[in-house]
Symmetry: C3
Subunit: 428 residues, 3 copies
């Protein structure tokens, strides 16, 4: 359990909050690249860290992320026209460029001088992989661009989707580093999901329901190791990296692509979950890519034209008691992604952690909270850069291995847990 004041320290991320300060030190996913498919595409509204913003892509292909509201009278630029290297407010035609600089105030006779003095809040927006990333902190503290492997491999080797989750980001992230629920909540998926099934690793997963947890500390990350009994004298280790503040990779299964998530706060009661799947050394097959689009694996099946899952709160997650009774799903909800989300949303918008009863298998969660808290509390010390900011910290991988019982997972797997271009992931 956490004390109330710690829960209230870790969960909010709006401007001025301690957690918000922390998140504003990192590059974060702001959009999928597909949301701004061409130059002068329609602008996109978004909220991130409780700030309402407009993203657009100008005639020259430059991306911009600026305050949603026109500086003049406060109307939303979502109604604006994107053309001729800027976005023009629909009300009186004020025009802004991708940096938020006002270029024209047509209704004011003195507009040339005046416009120069008007500038909207803006943040950089940069495409790396299939994601448009932003950095919302002090410009002088802006770190190098993200170097996560899923966003660095060739386009044919990677796929990213996103979904809206109606809960605080932290309880969503906690699910991502909690390997112990897989054997229960996702037991059905291990058997039937095209992106999961048919591996030796699955047998270890369901063969030992009492994994032992060991957590290793790295510079920008934690490696959460879940140990299960394997063949005589050996252990199966499934290792989940968490890179600060909210990037996680699920341990791999056989030659299936590797998947993971980036959990991005929308506001204190909602988050975007960016979900990737990639293979370090080969293209995704057409069947794999189609399965991802269909919401298999850890992807979701979204309502067309939106990033909201079909299995959502308003429809009781399409609860199917018959499928649950037949054992096809453990919770009655279809799909691994929404099996997680439905439970995390059922905790309430921000779960009251003063009431929880954590156990040994929650070690990963406990250590992650401590690391977050330490990073937040170190922020006022200007000399300290939070873990995970340095792009070198992004070069991590998950791994699934079988080791002799006496061997330390972190020592045995140091190489396996490092992203190595051209080398396949370590998996069983």
């Amino acid at each position: 359990m956490l004390r109330t004041e710690v829960n209230e320290l870790l969960t909010p991320t709006g401007p001025g909050t301690p957690g918000g300060q922390l998140f504003r030190r990192y590059w974060l996913p702001a959009l999928l690249a597909e949301e701004l498919p061409g130059n002068d595409s329609p602008p996109v509204r978004l909220k991130i860290l409780s700030e309402r913003l407009i993203a657009f892509r100008d005639s020259d292909g430059r991306y911009g992320l600026i305050d949603e509201f026109c500086a003049h009278r406060g109307v939303s630029l979502w109604f604006g026209n994107v053309r001729e290297c800027g976005i023009r407010c629909a009300y009186h035609g004020w025009k802004y460029d991708v940096t938020g600089q006002c270029l024209e105030v047509p209704s004011a006779p003195e507009h040339n001088t005046f416009a120069g003095k008007v500038r909207l809040t803006s943040y950089p927006l940069v495409k790396v992989g299939d994601i448009l990333w932003t950095y919302m902190g002090e410009p002088e503290l802006r770190p190098g661009l993200p170097e996560f492997e899923f966003a660095q491999v060739a386009p044919e080797q990677t796929y990213t989707s996103k979904r809206w989750q109606e809960s605080n980001w932290l309880q969503a992230l906690e699910g991502g580093i909690d390997s112990s629920h897989v054997s229960w909540l996702h037991a059905g998926g291990l058997k039937s999901d095209p992106l999961f099934k048919g591996t030796k690793g699955n047998e270890y997963n369901v063969g030992d329901l009492k994994p032992f947890f060991e957590v290793a500390e790295a510079d920008g990350a934690l490696f959460v190791g879940a140990r299960r009994n394997a063949e005589e004298g050996r252990y199966n280790w499934r290792i989940t990296p968490w890179v600060m503040p909210s990037f996680t990779i699920v341990p791999p299964r056989g030659d299936h692509p590797v998947h993971g998530h980036f959990w991005v706060p929308i506001d204190d009661h909602n988050c975007w979950v960016y979900t990737f799947d990639y293979h370090p050394v080969r293209p995704l097959t057409p069947e794999e890519r189609q399965a991802m689009k269909d919401g298999h694996g850890v992807h979701s099946r979204n309502i067309p034209g939106t990033y909201r899952p079909m299995e959502n709160k308003d429809v009781d997650y399409l609860m199917d008691r018959e499928a649950q009774r037949r054992g096809e799903t453990f919770s009655g909800v279809r799909g691994i992604a929404q099996q997680d989300a439905s439970l995390q949303e059922s905790m309430g918008p921000i779960v009251d952690r003063t009431k929880e009863r954590v156990v040994a298998s929650d070690t990963g969660i406990i250590k992650a909270r401590r690391k977050l808290r330490a990073a937040i509390e170190a922020l006022p010390d200007e000399g300290v850069t939070p873990p995970g900011v340095d792009p070198a910290h992004h070069h991590v991988r998950s791994a699934a291995v079988v080791l002799p019982q006496e061997q330390s997972f972190i020592e045995a797997c140091r190489e396996d847990l490092t992203a190595r271009p051209g080398v396949a992931h370590t998996s069983v």
Copy 2:
């Protein structure tokens, strides 16, 4: 009118409120038995007295009513699996029995000892008649089970339905003991409803629109007598019993079954209305039973798969101005139940009783509030058991009689107002 502080004393029923303390001394309807039709049926979420709970029925047929949220990380047990004499949380498989006792914590190696220390809040859940009743107070103060006649007669003699009402329980209850609105709001129903029409009593009801009210006090109840002119030298009395805290019986009509309600707070702005219809000495006919299912009499016509009436707030109660103009309904709303509910909901979630102007025909309401208030104020005196707690107080009946003008209704009807197995109700 009531002073603000009295209104605020009588209406809330959450944990720790004075009214909540009072309600926690009684057995209350928690579910219809049909909601848990078999062993290992899907669990049911409910809120009662502002507490969120899960009801289930285990493999041996035992009923349980426990905290909705798992003790581990706080997810809803609504997603849980009911089997093997317990409910298992969908997240990590923690298992609880009907008493809330944790039986297994599978992910914790030390689970056997640990589980024994984990216990969720739980309340008894007992089937009496067609209802599952709960008692949410101190175990040592738990009274004997309910002995209301409608729940004691043979199954073929009784029928119970329920509906969600979007208002505080008290203004709903007040409608139940207010016999004077029948001649107005329900005038149409008296003529056409299959469970009301064709009795001598109806003629008295519409023949005298200015009933005189007299209220008699009993141990656990009030008897609200509405007196109307009948034949020369005689009065028609329609007598409504109210048993504390919120059980009422409508005065009968001819040989029609007798109906009444139990008004149960969900939270301060919503209540469940349990509606019963029974005949003390004969089975309900198939036609009567079908009429009840169709939402005639005081039952409602609910949206299939829910307990929400079709005539609800979101659809303006399906207001039919033409039927109102033709005089088929007085308020334009179909059905006696929703004629009441629509008006009571229109008062707002909790009506502001400082603005009302009560008159002589509101005597029943005024005396009921006084009795409630007295019971709430007596609670701190531990020697006093509130009226209506003793099952002996449940043995009441409504009655409709014609008496010589000089006769006291309460003296003349003492037997008629008592439940007497095998003896028909007294009715005109």
Copy 3:
């Protein structure tokens, strides 16, 4: 920009607020006459200046506007029966007349005396033109009836519609006196709308995107003049009158009918927009009238059976990015009315005016706010009647003219800006 305390002075209009006191000095549109089409029509619920009221029309054709809730137990009179010169509450039959006087309390034996003492709040409701107007202030301060020209001409010369807008009234009104946005937001409508297109005035409108603003003060009004370059040595002036508190007329175009609005607060986050179109000297043609019904010009296309526009917030105003890209609409929203409303609603329920950056073309808005503020601050001085209360102040017109550059618009147009029965409006 405005200071927070000024924004909070000007925007709320509920009982007891300074702005509410001001609005309670004027006759305001309460309903369209079509909403109470005949004697004993169904009663209509409405909210105005944050007060919930019921309007009805009795058997003798008298209009009444009274408290929505019955004095007895507080149920809504919307369920009531209008007949026999009164409205009867559906619960216990209490009957009220159009003045709110209780006429009968049938359930109370002593009802004749008692009823005389019961009276609901009521306001006058008077038909002038196609509108039912009310006055919600002190009876002794009640001014003469409205004399706006659109409501005085013959029925065949005028048409009025209404729509619900989900924003505070002031930001809606500000759009009405802001002539500078027309060249941008409504550029498409100028070309294609049947009630706008084909006039010389439109050419001036789009030919000079930097209008110069000059505001002339009148007794109850402001005249906002927008000056654009016309032929050599001449200016085009488009003049918008604003009569206190919230009546505006759009400058005319050629021989098209003249249109304008009355912006009426529902509560602080919503307003009714009454929109009229009239021709001072000729009947509207069938084609014009049909175009108005179809939501052309400044009228809206409403969801049938309601006064809510089809292009509303819940459906993202039916945003059509393709029409926007093709330049048919500047903001992607269909129709001049909802082009305005969509932007004004996007500002939030009450726009934060501390963040705006007003420019010279906002002069009309700035002066209107000052005049409103002065009127509000003068209220405690009982000798002062606010501008616009005197019906003589209502005799205004908009105008569109071409003048020699050296001429003052207000001096040149004094006659043109005055309503003159039988004389056509001045227009280009």
